[in-house]
Each structure stands twice: as C-alpha cells, then as structure tokens.
Amino acid sequence: MNRRPLTVGIIANPASGRDVRRLTANAGLFSSTDKVSVIQRLLAAFGATGIEQVLMPTDMTGIAAAVLKNSQGRQARASHWPALEFLDITLRQSVEDTRKAARLMAERGVSLIAVLGGDGTHKAVAAEIGDIPLLTLSTGTNNAFPELREATSAGLAGGLFVSGRIPAEIALRRNKRLLVRVPSRGLCEWALVDVAVSSLPFVGARAISRAADLAQVFVTFAEPQAIGLSALCGLWFPVSRQAPGGAWMRLDPQSPEALLVPLAPGLLQGCGVLAAGSLEPGVAHSLALASGTLALDGEREIEFNVDDRPSVTLDNHGPLSIDVNAALAYAAQQRLLAIGREHPQHPLNLLSRDNPGE
C-alpha cells in the first residue's frame, strides 16, 4: 500500500532580525547561524514524532547549506531527522522567495509549515497557503504573531499534530487578519497583527522608530506585554487573540493625552493619543491621512497618495496555527510522549548500549 510520507515544510526568512533597529534601538541580531540551530531543533522534534520528510527552500545566506551539511552528521542520525528535500527556486533575495517557497509547499500538499521569522514573514507565508497550519517561531525583531518559544517543544507539538495524535480542534487555532486594499493599484495585502498609518513619505528602512511618525494603528489583537506597534493598543485598549474583533487608535503628537510605548527593543516613546475603539469584523475603514506610508506588521511597505484611498478591514479568515501550549497540554494528559522500554531512545536502553557488560 502506498501511503504518502508525513511531510512538513520549514521556511526561515534569511533577512529577518537584522534591520535598522540595531542602530535606532537596542535590538539583538538573529544570525544565520542561530536560524540553522533553530531548524535543527525542529528537525530533531519532527524526527522524534514520526515526520518522514521536510521540504525547505534554498537561500543565499548559507542556512540551507548548513542544514544539509549537518544532516550528514551524528546528531542528525541519532535523532532520526526526516529526509530533507530542498526546493528548486530562482532566488531574488526578497519576500518573493518566501512566497514562492510557501506556494510550492502548498502544491506539494505539506501538512504543516514551520516559519522562522517575524510578523512580516508569517504574513507572507500565510497569504499563500490556505488552511495549511503554521508552526510559528519568532526570529524577528519585535514580534507579536509568533511567540518567543523554544523550537524543540514547538516542533513536538507540530509533529504530534501532523502524525494524527492530537485532534485539530485542540491543536489548531484560527487567527484574525487585516486586509489592506488599494483599489487604484489592485492591491490587497494581509497583515496578521497591525497596520500603521505613517506620515513618512517613503518605505525607506521599513521599521518605524519614532512615535511622531504615526497617525493611526489598526490591530487584530494587542496584548499588554507586546512590543512594537501593537503595544500602543496593548497598553491602552487591549484586545485578545481570541476576541472576534480588533482595535484601532488615532495618534497625534499634539494630543493632550499621551502614552509611553515600547516601540522597539529598548526604545520607549511618548505617543499622543487622540482616540481608540473596537474594530468590527467586515467593516472597511478609511485612513486618517491622505498620503504617506502603510506599515504592515511593523514594516513600511506601501506608499500611498491622495488618489489611492486605501482601506483596512478586519476579518476572521486568517491562517490556522498550532496552539503549542494547548497541544502539549493534551500530549501530557494523554501521555503521548510516553515510550516503551524497547524504544531505542529509552534512557535505560541507551544506558545498556553504552555499557554492554551490564
């Protein structure tokens, strides 16, 4: 009988975690070497939970190359890494590489895509893959959508779900999204966390490092412990991931009311607040500025002028993602990771192999 091998994808954004916020704030660096380690932790967890094949894109920064090299090593053999297949794509060293990899993985019918990146990377993948669940890992600068989490345990949750041992209603959650429409240019872009309206005329170095550059923020959710643009709502008008709606805020440096906000790691800015409110699903909102830039999930991406009239709409058709806490709580309750003495990775068996005389 031909059973399809259990296959998942891993997409690591080579460019995440290295933007201008290393100069304008105290953001840390997420090096290629670190990303390789995160992927290898995932591979160990996937191997342990029965994933047979992993698809990965190639890249120009040595991530795929290092994983390939290490896949020949002792650790990879000992932890039963899945078979690796590298996707053949023409690299443009832009977000288009991420999108192309996500589309190819969807065509290949992967059961899950693990994403290493920031909010922006997750958004780029999510828009291409329909209802294939995401396993989200933060390797960005200040992220709200992917949680900061150890890849090994996240990989266990993802692997147990893909191998059918955790039901979807426990392992998966549906996320909200914001749709940014610019009809004059036929654009409809996604954001998973926030859309910010800035008076800065150009995309430039992408990050927004000054509160004075902000006029308006829309969020799908905003947690008080967040950092970045969603922290504005998080500390003034919080809304949970689970709530059906989102929130918005109007900002103006001249406003009598102001809020101190962590806009980036180590960067606290006073921000004038004009008003805030709930964002109902399905309602299109126009922008407070006639021209400027739109930052989607923290990075300026769209320059607009008076003729463009972009709109922002929240809905509940964002991507599915693995709820790692819920999945692992179920795994514990069901003892999904309990192993028998005959299992090669059982500590007693390892001991007897090391000491054959006993």
Partner: protein, 325 residues
C-alpha cells in the same frame, strides 16, 4: 533618521545617482575603444549606496574607497571632469593623470582614495576617525568595501580597533554578490556580512541597496551615532553591479537573466523617480532636466579629457611624497 528630505535634497540625490550612472555607462562604451589605459571597474547599479551614505557627509568627513570607486568619488563631490581626465591618464586629472581609475583621490573633498588593494581602505579610515576624535571635531570617516573585502584581515583589524577606541567610523559593506567571479554565498562564511559586527561589539544592519531611502535612513542613524561619540557601525548594503567585475569580464558565473531582472524590477534610479514623483515631492520635468544636464556634463568631460595632454617625463618625480608645510 527619518525620510523627510527637502525637494533640494531629493534633486541632489537624483543628480548624484544619475551622474554616476551616466559616467559609468559612458566609460563602458569608451573603454571598448581601447583609448583608456589600465582597468576600470564600473559602479553602475550600485548608485543608491554611494548617494545614500554621502548625503550625510561633508568635506570634513573622510571616505576611503576601493577598486570600484567612481561612484564614491562622484557622490563625495570630486570634480567629474577631473575624474574623467584622470581615468584617461591626462595631466588635467585630479591626480595629474598618474593614478588612473583605481587611485582617484581628492583630499579637499575628504576622498582619501580609491584603492587597488582589496580591504585596504578600512585601516585608512580608522586613522582618519582617530584623527577626528583626537582633534575633537565631529567628523566621521567611512570606508566602502565589498563582499570580497569583508573577508580580508585588514578589515577585521580595522573593525576591532575602531570598536576598541570607540571611533566615529562607518564600515559600509557593499555586497554585490561576487568577489570578482567568486560568489559571496560561497565565500563569506557567516553569509550575512552584517552578522560580523557582533564579533567586534558594534551594531550591524543589512539594507536594500537598490533603495536610496533605505540606505539613507540606515546611514543617517549610523552617522548620527558616530558623531554623538557612540562609536562605529557596520552597514551591509545588498545590491548588484550591472557590468562585470572589470570591463571585459565575460561574467560566465552569473545567471543569464540576473542583471536584467534587477534592472527591470529594482533599478535605483527607476524606483527613485517613480516614488518621488508619485509622492508629489518632485516633478518629472525636474528630473528630466537633470538627465539632460548630466548628459552634457559627461559629454563635455569626455571630450575635454580626450584632447588634454598626458603627463610629461619630468612629471614622473613630482607628487611622489606629500610635502608637509
């Protein structure tokens, strides 16, 4: 740090980039005639990097360049005709025709020189930055090197010393993907050159080198840091060169449509024109006028350079050492 630039600043940036492009494309044509001595390495495609960094510098700030130096010279304000004459090996050149393409220098403009030795500019700007610090000026010093240069020991030593002494110094790694014919993704061990900054205790960032505004913003933050006494930074500018490593390079190591793709989708001049006019900050007519002015500037420079005299035998023994007052 912000991208709020005045119309004059925007027009100047465009003029710088257009001048570099026209200069290089003309050299591409002229070099093929065999009239130009030595080698030329063209900067076309990389203009946003030089223009974006140099927008923050004045004559008191020093830069050191590399073998691909024409763009840095033009953006730093070196006379275009003097450069052209220099490349033609004429006595009217900025170095009296004795340096050529790879040795153009103009101390009055703070241009310490193009450099034929890979990575050799880095120690020079550490010296210039040390001088600025000891004299108590707020000048900064900037070195431009490539992905090949980023692998050189001299660059590492310079970064270490700049960090140890907390010098007002910028290391700009223009990563165009190839050190001559060797791909940087093969030859640069940590792949992201910006990652190397961490090893020297300084911030490192990567920016899109096709986008003037991205370079301008990152360089602005780094220059501001340096002038405030907060020490050196490394900026990796990712870009591509439109021509070979040198003129005559058959470029068999590149994918056939690689340059075409970047020219059509990412070209810095195209993007700049599209975005500034779209934002209503400058008029297309103003940019067209710059295009025209630059054409005649380059035409005149080439015409004059061709007819200028060469240095004489007697010039051989002058300008060998700097004469100190």
């Amino acid at each position: 740090m912000s991208t709020h630039l005045s119309a004059d600043q925007l027009l100047h940036a465009y003029k710088v980039m257009r001048t570099i492009r026209a200069f290089e494309e003309r050299l591409h044509v002229e070099f093929a005639t065999g009239e130009i001595p030595g080698f030329v390495h063209l900067y076309a495609g990389e203009e946003a990097s030089a223009a974006g960094v140099m927008a923050h510098l004045g004559d008191a700030d020093c830069i050191a360049s590399n073998h691909r130096g024409h763009g840095h010279c033009i953006a730093k304000g070196v006379d275009v005709y003097g450069m052209m004459a220099e490349i033609y090996g004429k006595k009217t050149g900025v170095c009296q025709g004795k340096g050529g393409s790879m040795h153009i220098a103009d101390f009055e403009k703070g241009m310490l020189g193009a450099n034929g030795i890979v990575g050799a500019g880095a120690p020079l700007v550490v010296g210039a930055a040390l001088a600025a610090k000891l004299k108590g000026t707020d000048s900064v010093a900037v070195v431009f090197f490539g992905d090949g240069g980023s692998n050189e020991g001299a660059v590492f030593e310079a970064m270490n010393m700049a960090s140890v002494w907390n010098l007002p110094c910028l290391f700009i790694a223009e990563n165009n993907g190839y050190a001559e014919a060797t791909a940087s993704n093969w030859s640069v061990a940590c792949d992201h050159i910006a990652d190397r900054a961490a090893g020297f205790g300084m911030p490192g960032v990567t920016v899109d080198g096709f986008d003037f505004f991205a370079v301008h913003e990152a360089a602005g933050a780094a220059v501001e840091r340096a002038r405030a006494g907060e020490g050196p930074s490394l900026i990796e500018v990712k870009l591509t060169r439109y021509y070979g490593h040198f003129e005559g390079d058959a470029q068999t190591y590149r994918a056939p449509d690689e340059v075409k793709h970047f020219r059509e989708h990412n070209d810095c001049l195209m993007q700049f024109r599209e975005r500034t006019t779209r934002a209503g900050l400058v008029a297309a007519g103003q940019l067209d006028q710059i295009d025209e002015d630059v054409e005649s500037l380059i035409e005149n420079a080439v015409r004059k350079a061709k007819s200028d005299p060469k240095p004489s035998a007697a010039d051989l023994l002058t300008d060998v050492y700097v004469s100190y007052p």
